[in-house]
């Protein structure tokens, strides 16, 4: 029943808007056009964003890399799961009341010679908020497949008209101008938020005033939904932990279980609070052998792609650091994107194997500093002219692979030397040689990581353990002057993550001792 109804909506959404407008009972009070946007939002939310039926959305065709904007005719109702890239675009005013009792907005064009359009008063104007959104960068294929069919279309690869507004240079993506007519709640849409929009696909010139400017895709939004955290999977067996560690270790780390355990802790961490900085750690896997050829991708990256929803590999090289922007920067009032403008929860794998001797230029220094800033404080600074305070919170997990004793550029909170017991080639085996566990098992692995992440916020401590940790610290400091408060903080963070990875919500003395032991083994192997 609902489906049949919905199909008619998909066919001609603008007609539906007009119908909603017509249905407003007291149309004469002049406020009608200002009530329309929220009525439209409500109508379409009820149809497509149903809490009781998450599949309602799936009825709609999806706008994505394999279904680019040009594959839809203008006026088609589509859904678009995207990351908000630019929120600095100026609001737009549009004529909300056309003649013959028609409503405006959502790309509805006035009839030729529409009189209302030539003679207007400010009461008949509405405001739309404008955003630029791009397809979610660095999303793992399995995750993306959960939202749309990844069948290939006959359309050629989409060429984005604004490639500088996508964080990953050269990656296929689509960028769309988003117009939201319902102003309620738009102030809660932030840069890098991932949002599912439902709207009418269309296109218009890039610049309002210059007709010769290229056309950009436009989505006139009817309703939208900010991506919430995935539901916490119930009943995950804590023993999965060992399986995940073993799998990572045997496939990608040459059998080094300790390194795999640190990687797991890194994957399950997230920003907890900023007041007292409880941020995800950053990890260097040092002594990671060089590949035989610089363009080989470490198997670890393929493993991440399977395990976590968002993962990005950045093969650092001088050229890349010097030439590719890492920070978003506003140039001539257009916010250009940078590598670090990624949705919260993305894990970034930085490899240093392509680094050569050479000069790091100004841009390069800024980029290195930007990455270090993310590691230290989980903030990304957006560059705006004459302002130095546009610092945005982020939640990016950083793992560095380095051949040397430590990373060439970065101070990470954890450094684990790899103790590889197999050949270098096995660390760089291509994706198709990866021995994947059965699909249902991989699904369990994925939900296990989600569960750990969710739990890491809830970890508590008992009075007794607290006392134990304090005594322990004072005692160790008496024995060894080099024990610093920073080390205590580090161990406590590790203990927190370790407890969560065992799916326990409490740091016990047992966990504390294990954290110490894990860290001790790591320190020993560094020397």
């Amino acid at each position: 029943m609902v489906a049949v109804h919905a199909i008619s909506e998909i066919a001609d959404p603008r007609k539906v808007i007009q119908r909603i407008y017509d249905d407003d009972d007291d149309r004469l009070d002049g406020q009608c056009i200002h009530r329309l946007p929220s009525a439209v939002t409500k109508h379409f939310s009820d149809l497509f964003l149903r809490a009781d039926d998450p599949r309602a959305l799936d009825q709609l065709p999806s706008l994505d890399v394999s279904h680019p904007p040009e594959s839809y005719t203008c006026g088609t109702l589509v859904r678009f799961r995207a990351m908000i890239q630019d929120t600095s675009l100026q609001n737009e005013m549009y004529l909300a009341k056309l003649s013959n009792d028609r409503c405006g907005g959502w790309g509805i064009q006035p009839a030729h010679g529409d009189r209302n359009f030539n003679v207007f008063d400010s009461d008949s104007l509405g405001t739309a908020s404008i955003f630029w959104a791009v397809s979610v960068p660095a999303e793992s294929p399995w995750r993306a497949a959960g939202f749309s069919r990844l069948d290939s279309t006959s359309f050629p690869v989409h060429q984005s008209s604004q490639p500088h507004k996508f964080p990953i240079p050269g990656a296929p993506h689509i960028g769309v101008r988003i117009k939201i007519y319902d102003s309620a709640g738009v102030e809660n849409l932030h840069s890098t938020d991932v949002v599912t929009f439902v709207g009418i696909a269309s296109s218009e010139p890039l610049s309002m005033e210059d007709d010769s400017s290229p056309e950009v895709p436009v989505l006139h939004v009817l309703c939208y939904q900010v991506d919430s955290a995935s539901p916490i999977p119930a009943n995950v067996d804590p023993s999965v932990r060992e399986h995940v560690i073993k799998w990572i270790s045997s496939e990608a780390l040459g059998g080094d279980d300790d390194a795999a355990e640190w990687v797991l802790l890194q994957l399950t961490s997230k920003v907890h609070t900023r007041a007292i900085p409880l941020l995800p750690p950053s990890l260097t896997i040092s002594r990671f052998p060089q590949p035989s050829s610089t363009d080989l991708i470490p198997t670890l990256s393929h493993v991440f792609t399977e395990l976590i929803p968002q993962h990005l590999l950045i093969p650092l090289s001088l050229d890349l650091l010097n030439k590719t922007p890492f920070l978003p920067e506003s140039k001539e009032e257009d916010l250009h994107s940078g590598y670090l403008q990624l949705p919260t929860g993305t894990t970034i794998l930085l490899t240093e194997s392509a680094l050569q001797e050479g000069k790091l230029l100004e841009t390069g220094i800024t980029s290195v500093r930007a990455i270090q800033d993310v590691m230290n404080s989980q903030t990304v600074e957006y560059i705006f002219p004459f302002s130095s305070k546009f610092s945005f919170h982020t939640g990016l997990s950083m793992i560095v692979l380095s051949e040397g004793r430590k990373s060439a550029f970065f101070q990470t909170s954890v450094n684990v030397p790899l103790q590889c017991s197999s050949t270098t080639a096995s660390l760089y085996k291509p994706k198709d040689e990866l021995s994947l566990p059965p699909a249902e098992k991989i699904a369990i692995y994925r939900s296990y990581i989600v569960a750990c992440k969710a739990l890491s916020e809830k970890v508590q401590i008992t009075e007794e353990t607290s006392k134990h940790i304090q005594d322990d610290f004072v005692r160790r400091r008496q024995q060894d002057k080099s024990v610093t408060p920073d080390e205590l903080i580090h161990l406590m963070k590790v203990a927190r993550l370790l407890a969560a990875s065992r799916l326990q919500d409490e740091v016990t003395i047992d966990v504390w001792e294990q954290a110490k032991e894990l860290d001790r083994r790591r320190r020993v192997s560094i020397v």
Binding site: D86, M93, S191, I276, K331, I365, F386, S388, F390, Q470
Partner: protein, 877 residues
């Protein structure tokens, strides 16, 4: 001055006009002698301006306007097909297209400058004649006491009048006289005063809702009043207004265009501007990011028919000039013969500014929005990129044409602001805050300053999350207040040397001692705080650089961190990792407080009156207590000595301290129960406001008691070294630089108390802080004594003695080895043999220093490389 009878047309008359008739709204600014005076058209105020008077054409008001067009009724015609409709000369009666332009501009016809018509704003009850009357009353009647009453009514604190007379002054009449005497043409009108003056309350609303109509009316009243007052003054024989002189003045006023520039509205966030604000007066704040060069804006275009030489003037209409398609003269009517005569057109200055939201106005997680401003006439070039502005203007929205050459339009509108008033925010800030709010804040801050534990409270509130480090916090607190800048008026040139009042602080210490956190915190609360890391910033980032503006392709100067923090605090982390080039800039900044630039043909000196708060790590990342500070920090002593306070932040092992720390940390990181220390602390904003207030208002001077104490302290600080029992070693304990620092710190302490004078207690605290800082930084590790020589030359007395011993021994050794004849002694051997003789280990670096000095003096020579180096005595040495 006689005033002719005013005729009031009932507004209903006007309402009768058919709305859909051909637009009546085209500008009626021009007054034609031939036109029917009784047309029910609202005549422009300016049409009544007297002979000799320039037309009162304000870009901000008229630029895109349809003057007295009714609002609600309200329609604007954007689709003019009839040529005649676009000619401003048409006032709707189609009667008065003048045969030539001459009478219009050069000889306005109205013989008097008195208003003789009424206007009303269509569709409203606003009667412009009444508005004029009210505004005249306001200017003639407003007294400060009204404002005070109003403010009290709003529960806002008011400043008491010094005498009852002060409250009774007719403020605006006095101001008009000043305007006349100084030859200005602008009256800045605080709109709150309109609200405060009971008879004129409704003017406030009218001005806000219909600025387009009301401002020109006010301009007119202003001019009338200027003339009236001048006339009165002439009658009364006021000084400078007698006889001919007075006539001249009046003629002068006649020739001028007076403008009322309203301000004082509550500012709104620029992202909240919406269609209902269109054509209303609004106020926003922001940061100028771009400004175009001055654009000559055509106000009136002058066309001449190539066939019959008939001329026509076309006025700008919504930013466009419609070129007449054919000669308007019926006899001629040739098509396409009207050509523009450039030098007879009228132009005005115009500039487009892009204003961006300031970081504090942007909601969390959002990027800043930008709006366009159109500024005209005197306001052009007032604001530069980088300035923070509070702008009052009329919000416009105009439809966007699909194609500039076409008349069809999209259903989209572009918006901008026609600016009527600009206020540039002070470097110190705060100037833009409304006086009343300021008064309220002041009262609160003054009350705060009376607390006996003020000093401790403020220090505690600074970075409350950081453990201990009381003295460091106190030092930084005083840095935030700063000493007073002094110019020596006597002496060469206009102003003699400037003595900086800014206090520079350096923190050196072990990693993980929250230095960076302190810096980040200061950056947050300091006025104009800039945070930069020595590692990442090149000289460019810290100073200023030259780039090409994308719009104009001109070279422009962009300020770096130091210039941006002029009048504030520049926080530099990882100071030791800074490049030498950048450091050399700092030498200039820290003493001269300027940055010199010589790049791309631009040679200039920019002010950088900034205090520097720097943090550095010791050379080997962990502080080596056995080495003097200069060996621990890799910084040139010349730079170190420019810091007033130098703190060592060391990590010490102590059981009770450790236990408290562990408790604190475990609580913080695992129990989610942060321990605030149980003390009351000042919220960040209040602390910041307090500092801003003190910096802006308090400039304490030394009293005699304090000067004596300063002298005494300085003498005693110097004497510490002199009174050594082993008096042989005169050590330098304090230099004049330290005396200057002491003065600055005392001033800062007095400023913190909001005191006008520097008193004894201020000096005592300053000396204590200095001693604390010196004790930890200039303590000679070998003797445990304070030694400023360590900072100023890099070597301490103890060290110098050691070197002399080493030098003596070395020379003896070389002489023993056969003097100049021998091949010399191996480097390593010398060290070994010296080590055998001495009770302490010979330091290789120290040894190298000694050798270098001897080599420079030409006494010895070193030959060979690395391990094979041989030292031998030089002939005759």
């Amino acid at each position: 001055m006689s005033s002719p009878p005013r005729v009031d047309f009932p507004t209903s008359d006007i309402d009768d006009v058919d709305m859909d008739a051909p637009p009546q709204g085209s500008p009626q600014r021009l007054f034609f002698p031939g036109s029917d005076p009784a047309t029910p058209l609202a005549k422009r105020v300016a049409s009544f301006t007297p002979l000799k008077t320039p037309k009162n054409r304000r870009g901000d008001i008229h630029s895109s306007l349809t003057s007295t067009t009714p609002r609600r009724v309200a329609r604007r015609e954007y689709h003019n097909d009839l040529l005649s409709d676009n000619v401003p000369n048409s006032d709707g009666t189609h009667l008065s297209i003048p045969p030539s332009s001459a009478p219009n501009l050069s000889a306005p016809a109205a013989p008097t400058d008195d208003p003789d018509e009424i206007r009303a704003i269509w569709g409203t009850t606003v009667n412009l004649a009444e508005t004029m009357k009210l505004f005249r009353e306001f200017l003639r009647g407003f007294k400060p006491k009204y404002r005070a009453t109003h403010d009290r009514g709003q529960n806002l604190p008011t400043v008491a009048f010094e005498s009852p007379e002060d409250a009774e002054v007719v403020s605006y009449e006095a101001q008009l006289r000043i305007i006349r005497q100084t030859g200005q043409t602008n009256l800045n009108l605080d709109m709150v005063n309109l609200l405060a003056y009971p008879p004129c309350k409704k003017l406030f609303g009218q001005l806000q809702k219909y600025p387009q109509e009301v401002i020109p009316v006010m301009d007119q009243v202003l001019k009338d009043l200027m003339l009236e007052i001048a006339d009165e003054d002439q009658q009364a024989g006021v000084d400078g207004m007698q006889g001919e002189q007075g006539d001249e003045e009046i003629a002068d006023i006649m020739a001028k265009v007076y403008k009322v520039r309203p301000f004082g509205l509550n500012s709104v966030n620029m992202r909240e501007l919406n269609p209902s604000d269109t054509d209303k007066l609004i106020c926003i704040k922001g940061l100028v990011i771009r400004a175009t060069p001055v654009i000559p804006d055509m106000k009136v275009a002058f066309f001449r028919c190539l066939t019959c030489s008939h001329t026509v003037q076309v006025e700008i209409d919504r930013g466009k000039i419609e070129e007449p398609g054919r000669c308007p003269r019926d006899v001629c009517a040739s098509v396409g013969t009207m050509s523009l005569i450039h030098n007879r057109c009228e132009f005005a200055d115009r500039q487009v500014i892009r204003l961006q939201e300031t970081p504090d106005a942007v909601p969390d997680g959002q990027t800043p929005h930008t709006v366009s401003l159109s500024v005209y006439d005197e306001l052009v070039d007032l604001a530069k990129p980088g300035d923070r502005l509070t702008v009052t203007g009329i919000f416009r929205s105009v439809p966007v044409r699909v194609n500039p050459r076409q008349r069809t339009m999209k259903s989209l509108f572009k918006t901008y602001l026609d600016v009527v008033h600009i206020q540039i925010e002070d470097a110190i800030g705060g100037a833009q805050t409304r006086k009343i709010r300021k008064a309220e804040l002041e009262a609160k801050l003054i009350e705060l300053s009376r607390r006996h534990d003020l000093y401790e409270l403020l220090a505690r509130s600074l970075a409350p999350s950081i453990w201990e480090m009381e003295d460091v916090k106190k030092g930084i607190l005083l840095q935030l207040f700063g000493g007073t800048n002094k110019n020596i008026a006597r002496g060469g040139g206009g102003g003699g040397p400037r003595y900086r009042g800014d206090i520079n602080v350096l923190l050196v210490g072990d990693p993980g001692t929250s230095k960076s956190q302190i810096l980040q915190y200061v950056h947050k609360i300091a006025p104009r705080g800039v945070y930069t890391s020595g590692k990442g910033s090149s000289a460019v980032g810290l100073t200023a650089y030259v780039t090409r503006d994308p719009d104009t392709k001109q070279l422009v100067l962009e300020s770096g961190a130091l210039v941006l923090s002029d009048g504030g605090v520049c926080c530099i982390d990882e100071f030791d990792k800074m490049s030498d080039a950048t450091r050399s800039v700092l030498h200039e900044v820290m003493e001269q407080q300027t940055v010199s630039i010589a790049k791309a043909g631009i040679i200039t000196t920019l002010n950088a009156r900034t205090s520097i708060l720097a943090a550095a790590n010791p050379v080997e990342s962990k502080y080596n207590v056995d080495l003097p500070i200069t060996r621990n920090i890799d910084l040139p002593p010349t730079l170190i000595s420019r810091f007033d306070l130098l703190y060592l932040v060391l990590d010490r092992v102590d059981e009770t301290l450790d236990r408290r720390l562990a408790q604190h940390l475990v609580g913080l990181y695992l129990e989610d129960a942060p321990d605030t220390g149980g003390h009351d602390i000042l919220p960040l904003e209040e602390l910041s406001a307090y500092i801003e207030y003190a910096r802006a208002h308090i400039n304490p001077v030394l009293n005699s008691e304090a000067s004596d104490e300063l002298v005494a302290s300085y003498v005693s600080l110097r004497a510490i070294g002199a009174n050594e029992p082993r008096g042989a070693e005169k050590r330098i304990t304090a230099t004049t630089r330290q005396l200057e620092s002491m003065i600055r710190l005392s001033e800062a302490h007095a400023r913190m108390r909001l005191a006008a004078q520097v008193e004894l207690q201020d000096v005592q605290e300053a000396c204590r802080l200095m001693r604390e800082a010196i004790r930890t930084s200039a303590m000679d590790p070998r003797t445990g004594k304070i030694d400023m020589g360590l900072l100023n030359t890099g070597t301490g007395v103890g060290q110098r003695r050691l070197r002399e011993d080493m030098r003596r021994e070395l020379l003896t050794m070389l002489d023993g080895a056969g003097g100049a004849k021998s091949r010399g002694i191996r480097w390593g051997d010398v060290i070994k043999r010296l080590g055998e003789q001495s009770s302490i280990r010979v330091d290789a670096v120290e040894f190298a220093e000694v050798i270098k000095v001897l080599e420079n003096e030409g006494i010895i020579a070193v030959v060979g490389e690395r391990d094979r180096r041989m030292i031998r005595k030089v002939e005759g040495g």
